[in-house]
Symmetry: C2
DNA sequence: GTGGCATCGGTGACGTGTCAACCATTTCCC
DNA sequence: GGGAAATGGTTGACACGTCACCGATGCCAC
């Protein structure tokens, strides 16, 4: 027989529940705002902004996937849709014919630049501006500890190595 | 152009990025563990555990949706799938023929009880145990502030303070 | 009662994410 | 050089969530 598991204490339960609810509501609100302001989904904005921060607004597809922590197949599907909307374009790579690059189109760049200000505002209204600087610091530290732990992948339980993550 | 938007400072950027990455990786890991250990999705476990905490393991469908912060249609679709797998059962309601209840089946209860210990363990390993008690307290406070803000703003349905179920 | 209206829950269509399989190219190594 | 394995990227089938809409029931004013 296995021993009694270490259930969560009330305080721990409270922390976990608060996190789950915040995640649900905050994600929904920021998504709603983004879509109402710019007609973009969260995923669209992520792709656009990662490309906007890349050199010459372009990036190799699998490197983009790694940076975004997305699966290649998810990114491929999403790029197909964004390409059809004219936001990005695919280009081959001369040095290695397996590779492909994605580039922001002029329209994609314009869309990103128009979307950024209201999006930042939404993030402020619904999250950042609700926190004191001290809370922000603690929160960032927590997030980084968890990300470090999960990226290390040294988990004996980890079924799949987490890829990417410089 | 209107006035220059208030971009995020470096510290704010760091907080927001840490949150987004933590959310992505933590959700993926806990989901993977849950699925590997019990063959359940996050959503399955949420439904089962909410039902397990309900009186007589049953709940009116729309009340369940409210407690879980799910849309009714999402819950309805998901219950259909879980019903086909024999985890839950739908039942009519005598007092109000519009209403319907959902109940844990014996199999659903067994599945929940088997799934809970490894799930709690996964939450501990990947999140709770990585935080000091002080960090947990700050984190819970932050989550509750954000949830309060978002609940106040939108839903006329979420009048009552969402009591955390335990 | 009866008509108007809100509420409850379900349905179908559609967009998106996942998983496994796939093809093309490159790299490794004998 | 040549075959096996590794890598980059795409595709198809399926599960899931959302949205708009529906039928059914309860509620209320008149």
């Amino acid at each position: 027989m296995t021993s009694e598991p270490r259930w969560l204490t009330d305080a721990e339960q409270r922390t976990w529940q608060a996190y789950r609810r915040m995640q649900l509501l905050l994600g929904a609100q920021v998504s709603r705002d983004l879509n109402a302001d710019s007609g973009l989904s969260d995923a669209d904005y992520d792709v656009l902004s990662h490309l906007g921060l890349s050199d010459r607004n372009r990036c190799r597809i699998s490197e983009l996937a790694d940076r975004m922590l997305w699966s290649r197949s998810r990114l491929s599907h999403h790029l197909t849709r964004m390409q059809q909307r004219g936001l990005v374009a695919r280009e081959g790579c001369a040095s290695d014919a397996r590779c492909a690059e994605v580039v922001l189109t002029a329209d994609g760049l314009r869309t990103l630049e128009a979307a950024a200000p209201p999006h930042v505002d939404s993030v402020r209204r619904n999250f950042i501006d609700l926190l004191t600087p001290e809370q922000q610091a603690v929160f960032a530290e927590i997030g980084e500890v968890v990300v470090r732990h999960l990226s290390a992948g040294a988990e004996p339980r980890a079924k799949k190595p987490v890829r990417g993550t410089a």
